[in-house]
Each structure stands twice: as structure tokens, then as C-alpha cells.
């Protein structure tokens, strides 16, 4: 008992010839179908080149276009010929000219001999698989498709719409349930002959002639009528991309293919010399192992994922998502602090010590980017020049977070800074924003300037911060946001800091033991009152009493002691 191979060829005849010789040398009879689109001269040359190989026949030629009946007709006439001319064939293996056997032919023969009644054909009902392209799943069996999808897409789509609109559905023939799957199968003589000699074959053929992509459903459906035992998987390793086009194998896939233990792979790039040389010439030990394409599966599904979803937080020459389609505006979480470095004198070094993250100053400061340690350049060769930064303020942030993947970034922000990114921060789910509103007044309070200038600045800063807070409170917000007024914050500064750090999920999560040094606010209340007296009402810092209060001292508690 033996395995017969049916090969459908339409190009790369030199490679097809090599593979046919290989099959034949392994003792398999071969029936070849050459696409009718191939020019006569090329066809004749091909036939001539195989004249010296025993047990190779050529079947009646059909015109094969992708997704049309021709491919089924070709498989039918070639397999009928195989069954008629080679009576000792038990399994018929359908392959294409760009298929490459990866394991010794003997291995396949032994494998199939051990499973004499099993049909290997991927066959699933449409409702249960997400394979289909173009939104046509069950409809491929109920509509008509007279126009080519590749060449006349417009007509194809319009005609589909038309049929849906007027409910012009076809009836599926009695007794069959449409199934579909990979077009590369391996069937037993019993099953295949039952399909080919079915008294109703004419009915089925007429029906499938008008189905879309019948080569993926004709045998897959009919096999369910006759097979005694179906293994619903293909022995041919064949992966498809997100558009339903087959992935191609190259020389650098050699090790992967070898380890996959699959019997046959497609599609091989015709110029992949190393693959052909290796798999067709070298002697491999018989393994008898089950095919295991897991690793290849992962590589190709990753490729599909990259093409459809991309890497989050990356903006580059071939990925420029429209707003809302970024699948993550930035690549990883980061923290924004507003008002903290104004309230605390040593906030940046303290935060770096407590959390072990990268802590920058005001990245969006008007007179220059304040990178950590006030470096002039930073990761990815970002530059501290404010004009370069503001040339594209959003991408500056996106780039910074992308360049420092794997390390959490923290930076200061406030109304003194350029405000281009205000909304982007608010809408970014990766942003953790903590705000002490009104803290911008502290540097003004400490400054040695004329009060009229201070008043003008305060009014402007208050306006800017209030605009920013509106963004942070809008319904479009996705960032994690906490806002305290200055007055609220200084009531319980340690608790507030602890909450923020807890949220950051710092690794060495312990109680904050050491407090940052708070600015001296003696007289601050009076300062605010002076602003009010000048007609400028500072409201963002909350209610500050005009008289001096000691703000940052906790009442000293006496040490508790036990009374026995």
C-alpha cells in the first residue's frame, strides 16, 4: 500500500520538477496538474523535463484562478486519474508546486500506513471558526459570486450587497452541512472514491461551482458524508496572514522548519536554495514523531498581531495611528507631579530615593527641558532645547516614554510650563497625575519682586492652571488623577504622599519614613490676603487663614508607655 501525490503547479517549474523527483524517488506515484493559464511552451518543457521519471502522469488541465472552481476541478481530475492508474495507492496527498517535503518520504508512508482508515483534512463549520476574510462566512455558501474578488473587487462587493438587499439566497443541497478548512488534504482511497463516484456528484458540483473559494469547502464538506475517521488537521504546514494570504518560508526558517516535524510545508520561496538543498538532498533519520508546528505558529501569529495592533506607544514611519486608534498613546505608565516641587524643597531627589524611578524636573519648562540631573540630552538623544520640544510636544512625551521602556518616568508639570500636552496627559491611561492646586503661588510668595508684577503673574498662572484642571476633570479623562488644594494637602501631607507612592506600585513598598522638606509657609496666608486686597482672588489653593498657622508640624505626641 502506498501514498500517491497529486501536485497542482502553476509556476516555478524548476522547483516543482525537483520536488516531483523527490517524491518519485521516495516511491510515491505522482499525478501533476498544470494550470491552463500556463503557456504551452512552458508546459511542454516541464513535461519533457520529467520524461525520465517513473510513475509520473499529467492530468487534464483546468484554468485555475484563486478562489474559483478550477482548483477543485483540477484536484478532482488529478485524483481520479491517481485512483484509476495506481491501484495500490491507499492515501492520496494533495500538494502544490511550492510545497516542500520536510521529512523523509518513508516517514510519511509509515505514518499513514499506521493509520490506514484516517482522512487528514481540516474541516470545520463556518459558525465555529474566525478564519474567514471579508466578512463572508456562511454567506459564501448562500450567495453567488460571478465576479473575481481580486480583479473586480468593486463589482464583487456591489453584487454581494445587491443579493443581501433582495434576499437572493441559494439553497444548500439536501444532506450536506457546509464545512471549510485548509485546501491541502490527505484522503484515503475509500473516502476519495466515494466523493468522486457519488451519484449526486453533479448536484454538488453545480452547487459548489458558484460557492466562494470552493477549494476550501468542497472536499471539506463532502468528506463528512463518507469518512469513517476524520483527523481535522492538515498534514501540510501552511500559515496565513491577516489578509488570508499564505506566509512564505525563506532560508532563515531552516531550523524552525526542521524542528517542526511537519511532513510538508508551503509556501516556499522559489529562490530559497538552502531550504531546497537541505530538505531534498540530505538524509534525515526516520523520526515517526507527530508534527509539532507550535513554534512556527507563534512566530506567524506574532507577525499578524504586529501588523494589526502594532506596538503600543510607538509612533514611527510605518505606524501613525489616528487619534483613538493608538492602542495606548504611550508605551508604559508614568507619573506627573504638579505643585510638589514648589511645596517641597527637595522633592525630586526625595522621590527618586523613595521609589527608585527616574525623576525629571519640569520637562515642559519654557526655558528648557529639565531632564534628570539637568542633562542636555536624554535617552534616544532627545534634546533639552525647548523649541525642538515644542515643535511636536506630544511626540516628545511619547518618544521619552518609548525610549525608556522598562523604567518608570516621573516629571513635574505646572502652569509655568508650556501647556501643549495638557489634554494628552489627561487622556492617557498610562498617566498618573497628582496635583496640588495653587502651589504655584509659593515661588511667587518667596520671590523678591514688585507686588504688581507678582499680582499679574498670579492671575495668569491661576488662569492656566484652572484651564488645565478643566481638562483633568473632563469626561474624556483616562488618566489616574488626584487633585488636592494646597490647603487640603498641607493638613495631612504624609498621608497624601503615601497614597501617591502606593499607587505608583513602587517595588520596595514600605511606609514612607522620611518626609521631604516643606517650604516655610509662614506669612503665606497674609500673602494671599494681599493678593485678594488687590482684587486678584486666588481660589485654587483652597481656604487659607490669613493669620499665621503652623502648617507642617504635627502635634508632638508623648511616647506611650504601658502601665502594668
Amino acid at each position: 500500500m502506498n501514498v500517491g501525490v497529486v501536485i497542482l503547479v502553476h509556476n516555478a517549474f524548476d522547483r516543482a520538477e525537483q520536488v516531483v523527483r523527490h517524491w518519485s524517488a521516495g516511491g510515491c506515484p505522482v499525478v501533476i496538474h498544470v494550470d491552463k493559464n500556463v503557456k504551452r511552451a512552458a508546459h511542454d518543457d516541464f513535461v519533457k523535463s520529467l520524461a525520465d521519471v517513473p510513475n509520473v502522469l499529467f492530468s487534464k488541465r483546468h484554468r485555475c484562478e484563486w478562489g474559483t472552481w478550477g482548483l477543485v476541478a483540477a484536484s478532482q481530475s488529478a485524483s481520479a486519474m491517481m485512483l484509476a492508474k495506481f491501484p495500490d495507492v491507499r492515501h492520496v496527498f494533495l500538494a502544490s508546486g511550492s510545497c516542500l517535503p520536510l521529512r523523509p518520504i518513508k516517514d510519511l508512508q509509515v505514518y499513514l500506513a499506521k493509520r490506514p482508515r484516517t482522512d487528514f483534512i481540516e474541516s470545520a463549520t463556518t459558525a465555529d471558526v474566525p478564519w474567514t476574510q471579508g466578512g463572508l462566512d456562511f454567506e459564501r455558501f448562500t450567495l453567488r459570486f460571478p465576479f473575481s474578488w481580486r480583479k473586480h473587487r468593486f463589482l464583487f462587493d456591489r453584487y454581494v450587497e445587491f443579493q443581501r438587499r433582495f434576499k437572493m439566497f441559494r439553497r444548500v443541497p439536501e444532506g450536506i452541512v457546509p464545512h471549510m478548512g485548509s485546501q491541502w488534504w490527505c484522503l484515503t482511497r475509500q473516502t476519495l472514491s466515494a466523493i468522486l463516484e457519488d451519484p449526486d456528484r453533479k448536484v454538488y458540483d453545480t452547487y459548489f461551482r458558484r460557492v466562494w473559494i470552493p477549494d476550501e469547502s468542497y472536499f471539506q464538506t463532502l468528506v463528512r458524508l463518507y469518512s469513517q475517521s476524520i483527523e481535522s488537521r492538515s498534514l501540510t504546514l501552511s500559515k496565513f496572514d491577516y489578509q488570508g494570504k499564505p506566509h512564505i518560508f525563506y532560508d532563515d526558517h531552516l531550523q524552525l522548519l526542521r524542528r517542526s516535524d511537519c511532513f510538508v510545508a508551503r509556501k516556499i520561496w522559489p529562490d530559497a536554495n538552502r531550504l531546497y538543498d537541505n530538505f531534498l538532498n540530505e538524509e534525515y533519520p526516520l523520526k515517526g514523531a507527530e508534527p509539532n508546528p507550535g513554534k512556527i505558529d507563534r512566530i506567524f501569529s506574532k507577525a499578524v498581531e504586529r501588523r494589526t495592533r502594532g506596538r503600543a506607544g510607538l509612533f514611527m514611519q510605518s505606524r501613525l495611528p489616528r487619534p483613538g486608534h493608538e492602542n495606548g498613546f504611550t508605551s508604559s505608565p508614568y507619573s506627573v507631579f504638579e505643585g510638589f516641587s514648589e511645596l517641597f524643597e527637595d522633592f525630586e531627589p526625595w522621590l527618586a530615593r523613595m521609589t527608585g524611578t527616574r525623576v525629571h524636573g519640569h520637562l515642559y519648562a519654557k526655558d528648557g527641558v529639565e531632564f534628570e540631573g539637568r542633562q542636555t540630552t536624554f535617552s534616544g538623544a532627545l534634546c533639552d532645547n525647548p523649541k525642538l520640544r515644542d515643535h511636536h510636544a506630544q511626540l516628545f512625551l511619547v518618544n521619552l516614554i518609548w525610549n525608556t521602556r522598562g523604567e518608570r518616568q516621573c516629571f513635574q508639570f505646572g502652569p509655568n510650563d508650556s501647556q501643549h500636552v495638557s489634554w494628552d496627559l489627561a487622556k492617557d491611561p498610562n498617566a498618573q497625575i497628582s496635583v496640588i492646586s495653587g502651589a504655584w503661588a509659593i515661588p511667587l510668595f518667596q520671590s523678591n519682586r514688585n507686588f504688581s508684577d507678582i499680582r499679574a503673574d498670579a492671575a495668569e498662572l491661576q488662569r492656566l492652571e484652572s484651564e488645565h484642571l478643566n481638562a483633568l476633570r473632563s469626561p474624556f479623562v483616562k488618566a489616574r488623577i488626584r487633585i488636592w488644594t494646597l490647603a487640603e494637602f498641607i493638613e495631612t501631607p504624609m498621608e497624601a504622599l503615601q497614597t501617591v507612592l502606593d499607587e505608583m506600585g513602587a517595588k520596595n513598598l514600605r511606609r514612607v519614613t522620611e518626609a521631604p522638606k516643606m517650604a516655610d509657609l509662614t506669612g503665606f496666608g497674609q500673602f494671599l490676603q494681599n493678593l485678594k486686597n488687590q482684587g486678584m482672588h486666588p481660589y485654587l489653593m483652597g481656604d487659607f487663614p490669613a493669620d499665621n498657622v503652623s502648617v507642617n508640624e504635627r502635634p508632638t505626641r508623648r511616647k506611650p508607655y504601658l502601665v502594668r
Binding site: 496572514d241 491577516y242 489578509q243 494570504k245 506566509h247 512564505i248 525563506y250 532560508d251 532563515d252 520561496w269 529562490d271 512566530i299 506567524f300 506574532k302 507577525a303 499578524v304 504586529r306 501588523r307 494589526t308 495592533r309 502594532g310 506596538r311 510607538l314 509612533f315 514611527m316 514611519q317 510605518s318 505606524r319 501613525l320 495611528p321 489616528r322 486608534h325 493608538e326 492602542n327 542636555t376 540630552t377 536624554f378 535617552s379 534616544g380 538623544a381 532627545l382 534634546c383 532645547n385 523649541k387 525642538l388 515643535h391 511636536h392 511626540l395 516628545f396 518618544n399 518609548w402 525610549n403
Partner: protein
Amino acid sequence: MGALTSYRLRLQRKRWHLRARRKSRELSVVKDRTSQIKPNDVFVFSTFRNEDIRLPYFFKYYRDLGVDHFFMVDNDSDDGGGDYAASQPDVSVWKASGSYRKSRFGVDWLNHLQRKYADGHWTLVVDPDEFFIYPFCDTRPIRALTDWLDASDIRSFGAMLLDMYPKGRLDAVPYNRGQNPMEIASWFDSGNYTISKNNLFYNLWIQGGPRARMFFKEEPWRAPALNKTPLVKWRKDYAYVSSTHMILPRGLNLVYDEWGGEKASGILLHAKFLDTFGVKAQEELSRGQHYAASHEYKAYAEGIAQHPDLWCKWSEKYINWRQLEILGLMSKGNWA
């Protein structure tokens, strides 16, 4: 207004073709080997002036990728580069006597030659200091890429210009004829690029890198464009508009995905910053033949006089395409 805009762009394309035809009178054949070309050959098109020192490695690099034929336009070289190119077995050379600027920086000449010879071929339009990198370029020849693009119905392939520079002064290490320039200029900026989209032509406008960082700090909008679409399955009715930054019909400029995915893309390593650069900048400035009234070269000449170090401690050293892929400068997209 979609149809009207399309029609306007169509007229514009016709105008570029007419212009290319008119400018083709400035071209004279030096060596015509176009009878050698075969139906599926991949071509390189390039304009050069006084690049003799770079040409040997340029030809070698692209031959190794599997390019079959070179179409070179020699813009009045006087260093023997034209003769060298003409002596190569797979190179056709034209001499252009006209003004580089008035031929829109060589685009008109190349548009004409491409229209005449490249119909139906994959063409790569690069300068002699640009080296094309694509996914798997160390294991797969360029024909693997073009076959895959054909199979995926993709007509054009984007490759961003990546400025390479040496560590230290530009003139510290002299470049030798035939040497791989990336041995000297092996550093690049990995993550300071900005992107915006041209809503008329659909191409991206990418800026950044060491040139923006060093020479265009004060006027970042003037920094040179880095987006390029150098690899195109050419057809007679295509036309480059501005260098290889923009092409018509505008659908060819859509080499990026807007719905979150990544399309496959490559990189053009730009080995401009070698010891030859200072001389070149001076020469180009005096000729006044470059883009935007040679503004770019003015900025360079001013900057170069102080012998700046383009290198900074965050510069990346070039290793291979996989490194560029991981850094997010290019992408494998769907190709695996």
C-alpha cells in the same frame, strides 16, 4: 472635494511628466547597457556629483542585495566618478549638464529615465550616500522582499532616512575608497523623531535626528525631511514630486498604517557625515544648488566651522536591522 483634488493632482502629475521630458534634453548617454535588462530585474536609480570616492562601495552594497542594474546620472563630476561608473558591467550612465536645482535636485532627470526604462520593475531611488536596510536584509535578497510585496499587492515601500555620524570630529577619521562608511559613521539617534502628516499628498513628514538637534535647534520646522519612499514597483504614469519624499499618485505615499498596526518598513542609512562633508558643504553652498535656497547647507557650513561633535552619550551604535526594529525605527510588519 475628493474628486476635484484628485483631478488637480492628476494634472500636476502630467505637468511633472512634461517637465521631465523637457529636462531630458539635458541628458546625454555616456554608457547605455539597458539592452542587458531582463523582465523581472530590480533597478537602482541615482544622481551623483563628485562622489567617486563613494561609488565603489555603493555599487558593491547594492549588488550584494541583488540589484540587477544601475541607472546613474552624472551631474558634471570632475573627479573621474563618471568614468568609473561607466566602466562597471551593470551600470548605465547619463551625463547631465544642466542645473541641479532647476532639475528639481535630479528628480526630473530620474523621472524621465524611470518613465522610459523602469515600467513594471521594482526601482530603488537612492543617493550614493544612502544604504537601504529592510527586514531580514542579512538573510534574504531584495528580490525576496519585492516578491513578497508583489504577493501582498503592495506597490511602494517606505524607508526613513537615518543620519549616521562618527564619534568625535567629522574629519578625525578619513574615509577610504571602497570602505564601508558605517565603519566610521556608526552612530545614530534612536528616538527623537517627530512625525506629521501631509493631508494633500498623504505622505508623512518626519524630522529629527542629529541634524535637527545640532543645526536646526532654533528653527526646527526647517529641519530636513527624513521620510522617503525609495522602493516602488514603477509604472510609466508615476512621478516623484519632491526627492523621494513624495510621489504621485498619492496612494503610493500610504506606507504607514493609521489604525494602530505596523506596516513593514525599512531604513536608509545616511552616511553623509564623513570627513568629506566639510568640503562638500562649502562646495554646495557656493554652487547654491540645493533645496530651500541651500538653507540647509548654510546651517551646516556655520555649524561645521566649529567642528561639532554630533555624538552624545545617548547615541546608539549601529549593529543590524534587528536592532533598528527593536528600537522602533523600522518594522517587520506582517513579514515573518
